[in-house]
Amino acid sequence: MITDELKKTATEIRKNILIATHAAKSGHPGGSLSAADIFAYLYFEEMNIDPENPDDPDRDRFVLSKGHTAPGLYSALALRGYFPVEDLKTLRHIGSPLQGHPAMDHVKGVDMSSGSLGQGLSVACGMAMAAKLSGKTYRTYCLVGDGELQEGQIWEAAMFAGSRKLDNLVVIVDNNDLQIDGRVGDICSPYPIDEKFKAFGFFVIKVRDGNDLEQLEPAFEEAASLKGKPTVIICRTVKGKGVSFMEDQAGWHGKAPNDEQLAQALAELG
C-alpha cells in the first residue's frame, strides 16, 4: 500500500536532490527527479535491504546504470539511513565520499560503481547469475535511462539476460524522453522500447505514469510474480518532475539550481 509517508519520502528525495546539486554547484537534477519515485519505491518499499548490514550477501541488489543520477540514489540512501542526510551537501566536493557518479568503495549501500552509460545492466546480469549459481534468492534491480538504450552494451546484456532466463533480474527504464541533445526519439530513437525488450526475451510491464507511486506498486508486484524470464518495467516519467521550471527541459539534465532557483523549487515541493 502506498502510504502518505512514502509519498513524503519521494518529496524528501526530490528536495535533497536539489539541495545536494545546489551545494555541489553541478550535477544532474533532471534525471534524478524523474527517477525520484522509483528510488523511493525501491529503497522504502521493494528491496530487501538493511542499512545496518549493507554487505549482507543475501540482500537485494541495485545497479544505477544511469549513474549520473547519483543525487537521487544518494538521497534515497541517506534518508534510508545509510549515512547522514547532512552529508548530501558534500556531493562532488573534494574529499567527499559522494563522488559525482556512484563509487561502491566510497559509500555503503552503493552496490556498484557506475557512470559510464551502458555498463550497469551487464553488471546486474552478473549479480543475478551469481545468485543463480549460489542458489540465493536475492533479486537484482537495474535502473537505465532511455537515452542510455542507445548504448550497444545494453542490448548485449539484454540478450544475455533473456537467453539465460534471469527471472531474478528487473530492469527499470526511466523513460523521461529527454537526453542532453534533445528528445530521445529525435536524436536516435530507442522506440519501441517495449517491443525491443520483448524480442530480447523479457516480460514487459508498462507504467503510464512512472512518477505516480500508486502505479509503480502494481508494476513491481507483478514483476515479483513473473517466472522464467527477466522483466523490464518501462516507466514513462517527466524529467525534472516536481519543479515547474525544470519539468521536461533537457537544459536541466546537468545543471545545478542557483540560490533563487533552489528556494523556489523547495517552496514548490512544500
Binding site: M112, S122, G126, M129, A130, L133, S134
Partner: protein, 314 residues
C-alpha cells in the same frame, strides 16, 4: 641434451584453471565464443555449470564478471587479447578497475605469434592498455610452468589481474627445482657484466638464446625475466642498471607502453642508463606462421642478438 618441450601458455591456462576450479567452488570462467581457442573448454567440460559463454560480446562479458565479483565469485574472463583489452577497455577500466573488483582477465592470442590470422588479431598494445589502469596487476608468463603458477597467484590475490597468454607453443624454460613465482618479483636467469637483457613472455626464451650467441661473440649478458609488468620489480632492474650500465628490453608487444616503457620509466626515475627497447616498432603485424614472423620482426634469439650487437657497437 634433452629435447626441448614446447607448450602454448593458453594450454597451460586451461589446465591450471581447471585444477583451481576443483579446489575453489567460487571460481567461474567466462568466454566470448572462444572457449576452444582460449582452452577454457577443459574447464567447461568438467564444470559446465560454472562456465558462462557470453557469446560474441566482450564488453558484456567484462560487466558480468564485475557483477559476479561483487557477489563473491572469482571470475576468470577469457578471450583473445585484442578483444578482451581493446574492445572492452573501458568496461575493464570503469567496471573492474575503478571499483578494484576481484576479476581476472586471462587473454590468449596476444602478440605477433597469433600468426596466420594477421594484424587484426595480433594485439601488441594490451600491456600498455592494462598497465595504465590504476590498481591493475599485469602478468606475462614466459612458459607453461610460469603460467600455471601465475594463474594460481592471481586467484590468491584480491583484486583485478590481467594475464597475457599466447597461442604459439613456447619452450618450457622454468625447470629449475628452486623456481618460485612471486607476483612483482623478477627472476634473474643468467648473470652477465656487459649488458642486461630484460625480457617478458616468450621473449624470455629468445633472450636466453640471444645471450648464448652474445657469449660466443665475447659479450657477457644478464637475462632477467620480468613476468610481472605491474607492479614492476624496480630493485632487480636498478641493480642491473648499476651493474652493466646498458639495458635491452625484449617483448612481443609494441615498444610503446609495454615492458620497454616500464623499464625505461624505472631507470629514468632511479638510475638513468641507456635503454634499448626491442619489440614491435610502432607497426602492425601481418599474416604468416608464428616462427617466421618472429624471425621477420627480429624477435627470435638470433634477431635479438644481432640487434643487441648492432646497438652496442653504436
Amino acid at each position: 641434451m634433452s629435447e626441448i618441450i614446447k607448450i602454448a601458455t593458453r594450454e597451460s591456462y586451461g589446465k591450471a584453471i581447471t585444477e583451481l576450479g576443483r579446489e575453489h567452488e567460487e571460481i567461474v570462467v567466462l568466454d566470448a565464443d572462444l572457449a576452444e581457442a582460449t582452452k577454457t573448454a577443459v574447464f567447461r567440460k568438467e564444470f559446465p555449470e560454472r562456465h558462462i559463454d557470453c557469446g560474441i560480446a566482450e564488453a558484456n562479458m567484462i560487466g558480468i564478471s564485475a557483477g559476479l565479483a561483487t557477489a563473491g565469485k572469482v571470475p576468470f574472463a577469457s578471450s583473445f587479447a585484442m578483444f578482451a583489452t581493446g574492445r572492452a577497455y573501458e568496461q575493464i577500466r570503469n567496471s573492474v578497475g575503478y571499483p578494484h573488483l576481484n576479476v581476472k582477465i586471462c587473454a590468449t592470442h596476444a602478440g605477433l605469434t597469433v600468426g596466420e590470422d594477421g594484424a587484426t588479431h595480433q594485439c601488441n598494445e594490451d600491456i600498455a592498455l592494462m598497465r595504465s589502469i590504476p590498481g591493475m596487476t599485469v602478468i606475462v608468463p614466459s612458459d607453461d610452468i610460469e603460467t600455471k603458477a601465475a594463474v594460481r597467484a592471481a586467484y590468491e590475490y584480491q583484486g583485478p589481474v590481467y594475464i597475457r597468454l599466447g597461442r604459439f607453443a613456447v619452450p618450457v624454460i622454468n625447470t629449475n627445482e628452486d623456481y618460485s613465482f612471486q607476483m612483482g618479483k623478477g627472476i634473474k636467469l643468467r648473470d652477465g657484466s656487459d649488458v642486461s637483457v630484460i625480457a617478458t613472455g616468450l621473449m624470455v626464451s629468445s633472450a636466453l638464446e640471444a645471450a648464448e650467441i652474445l657469449a660466443g661473440n665475447g659479450i657477457s649478458a644478464s637475462v632477467v625475466n620480468i613476468h610481472t609488468i605491474k607492479p614492476i620489480d624496480r630493485e632487480i632492474i636498478v641493480e642491473e642498471a648499476r651493474k652493466t650500465g646498458r639495458i635491452v628490453t625484449a617483448e612481443e608487444h609494441s615498444i610503446i607502453g609495454g615492458l620497454g616503457s616500464a623499464v625505461a620509466e624505472t631507470v629514468g626515475d632511479e638510475f638513468p642508463v641507456p635503454v634499448h627497447r626491442v619489440g614491435m616498432n610502432d607497426t602492425f603485424g601481418e599474416s604468416g606462421p608464428a616462427a617466421d614472423l618472429l624471425r621477420k620482426y627480429g624477435l627470435d634469439g638470433k634477431g635479438l642478438a644481432d640487434n643487441i650487437m648492432a646497438w652496442m657497437k653504436g
